[in-house]
Symmetry: C2
């Protein structure tokens, strides 16, 4: 009965639309209250939320077990099931992380600038919350608590949409968070979780819920980020790729180059700050190329190289054009010899993703040019690309890493989850005609 | 011959697409060079541009005369023709403004934060240019030079699209700017002017020219801003409305209230920072309402009021719901009595446009609550709303005022035309597993 099906689809769409609009409305109203919460009130609320996550532990683990059972029944990979599974230790880690976010300095109310004008006006630029942050995530259920807590710490409301695998776990964690907010006198509505697996809910969030979402943060694989960046009608904090480079300059110390390169590539291969391409300057290739390529290969990393890299070791396989644009997220690296600093920068600007790029050199001038001319969110000199992380930057925690140019760039911590307003203090000033 | 017409339309579209893509490509390449220009090089270039505008004055005035003649032939209003017309004095003003922008402090390269980590890493957050800024404007041809110079000062390239009325004037000014850039060793391509009146060029810009535009700034009427905000695939710095409020709190000094109110409304009625609604607290309505309403009426301002305001003076006409949402941009104001600070804030949050709102009061606590709780880009205490201007904020000049929450909010000066990157300085640090 196609007519009836159509009608019930429409009814479902209407319900979802109404439901999502209500979520947006509640989040916006809660955000107005959160924006005025004191540093102490937010700190207490986050500690209370941590307590609620602990006390609701059995319930969260029960819901998580249902998610895990469903994932197993659906035949998902062991890796996915591992990421999804919570136990008491992981749950304790989630609660501790929320408490730690509560203890961070309050990013709201900071005076970012003060301007005294000749007419006596005092103009202050003051940090205020962004408003309502939409977080769309996949996989690990801890993102519910982490991302939600970061949003709250910065005085925002959050609308969270979990992937369907972690839906039940995320719902249970979010309810514990709302409970903690209410128990400490802040609006329970400041944490909204989308209660349906319907993928149309993602589309509704990307439309901005009629002005009720100020920014979207996708946390997940390339497919999710690509969809969000392509369809969102509101700003997005994200990175699509982390094609990070390590450039060994002619004046690089070989031991340092080897140590930093191995850490950049192999410490963890699946994170966005992992190096994907090695550039060795022609000026040091004769001495540095063989030891560096050998070290990678010996550490279990496959190397795909240009002619020079292939000549360094028979285990190196040929790189094709597509390799320079590939984020392997695995124990694989592309490698080539470049003819000087300009060629290295050109390669990075042509093939890179403006995430994190490193130069290894003892030459201060070359380092300075590299740091200035490589147009990436993070540029490092004699330091691993794997430092691309809010925790390593001293931000306490991060909601993600952004490679866009607007507002937030690099690790997005609580400071970047604020915006600002101008407060103008006068004593009757008028503007001359 | 519809088939032939169709073909020629397609050919034109292809040409436009190719042309716009080329403009984007050139701007992006120029932006990379501009980003590395020293403060001194940019200052010299802007002085040279000012010289070129002066020396090409006769040509610019000739092209402007053709624009004016076309506008007259098209039967445009005298107001439009006035705004469009350049003379030697106005042209000198344009050149002087460019020189003044050149003399501003360089916003690029500022250290916005420095973080020393326990592992010895020094992490700097450094201001860098945004990249390529698209400016779409109507009316006054001076926007070509003003907006272009602000973009250049912040190390960006600009793609300028003039309204069709000022097309010839804008082309002549833009060519003088490119000439000035080339003469001082910076890329002439850093100023791109769209050489066609074809409105499809605007659509191409709003699509972001395949990643070659980082942000769009519309300068013009509500229709333009609405189209840009609705269609742009890239971030936009703009405000749609300036529905600014003056709230006379119960503890307001009457003389100050009258002076600031008259200035907020009547200094200039056509600018976005002009007040559009007067809110008088019930606590002082008995003493303040009549003198304030009378002062407005006597100054030639029409008043549309609620019952209380109408009772204050027979010349007050009734306000309808729509008045509270109207930006008159004229000598008209809506007026009502509100019952306390919370009611005033509720009115502003319900009907306002988050641009600029003022409280007049001698009560510091009420002022502090208003400044904190009114969620507008600019909030003032005992100061005219007409201070909403980059020049008045000490920014030297502004490209516009933004009411969005991301990146730039309030007057957008050269600082807001920058973003940042992180520079990480190490001596071989690796991240522990």
């Amino acid at each position: 009965m196609p007519v009836l099906n159509l009608r019930s689809d429409l009814a479902a769409a209407d319900d979802l639309g109404t439901q999502m609009a209500e979520i947006g409305r509640r989040a916006r109203a809660a955000a107005r209250k959160m924006a005025l919460a004191s540093a102490q009130a937010k700190d207490i609320a986050l500690r209370t939320i941590a307590e609620c996550i602990r006390s609701r532990g059995p319930e969260i683990l029960r819901e998580n077990a249902r998610d895990v059972a469903a994932a197993k029944a659906a035949g998902h990979s062991q890796a996915l099931i591992d990421r999804l599974t919570l136990d008491e230790k992981r749950l304790a880690g989630i609660a501790d992380a929320v408490e730690k976010i509560g203890a961070l300095p309050d990013p709201v109310g900071r005076q970012l600038a003060a301007i005294e004008r000749p007419n006596g006006l005092l103009i202050e630029r003051i940090a205020v919350p962004l408003g309502v942050i939409g977080v769309i995530f996949e996989g690990r259920p801890n993102v519910t608590a982490d991302a939600g807590a970061l949003c709250l710490k910065a005085g925002n409301a959050a609308i969270l949409r979990a992937g369907s695998d972690s839906h039940r776990s995320a719902m249970a964690i979010a309810h514990a968070m709302s409970e903690g907010l209410a128990a400490s006198g802040l609006p329970a509505d400041a944490i909204q979780i989308v209660p349906t697996r319907d993928r149309a809910a993602v589309g509704a969030m990307l439309s901005g819920l009629d002005g009720c979402i100020d920014v979207i943060v996708p946390r997940g694989g390339r497919g999710l980020v690509e969809r969000v960046q392509g369809e969102a009608k509101v700003p997005v904090f994200a990175h699509l790729d982390g094609i990070c480079h390590v450039y060994i300059h002619g004046q690089a110390d070989l031991d340092m180059a080897r140590t930093v390169l191995l850490n950049s590539k192999m410490r963890r291969t699946g994170i966005c700050g992992a190096a994907e391409t090695l550039l060795v300057d022609a000026a040091c290739a004769r001495t540095h190329l063989v030891p560096l390529v050998t070290a990678l290969l010996d550490a279990g990393c496959a190397v795909r190289g240009d002619e020079a890299a292939r000549a360094a070791d028979p285990r190196v396989t040929p790189a094709s054009e597509i390799d320079w644009r590939t984020e392997y997220l695995d124990a694989v690296i592309s490698a080539r010899v470049v003819d000087g600093l300009d060629a290295a920068i050109d390669h990075i600007e042509t093939y890179g993703s403006h995430h994190t790029d490193a130069i290894i050199t003892e030459d201060a001038e070359a380092a300075s040019r590299f740091l200035a001319e490589v147009d990436s969110a993070i540029v490092t000199h004699n330091a691993s690309t794997q430092f691309a992380d809010g925790g390593e930057f001293g931000f306490g925690a991060e909601i993600g890493i952004a490679t866009g140019r607007m507002h937030a760039r690099g690790p997005v911590g609580v400071e970047q989850l604020t915006t600002f307003k101008y407060r103008v203090h006068g004593n009757g000033q008028t503007r001359p005609v």
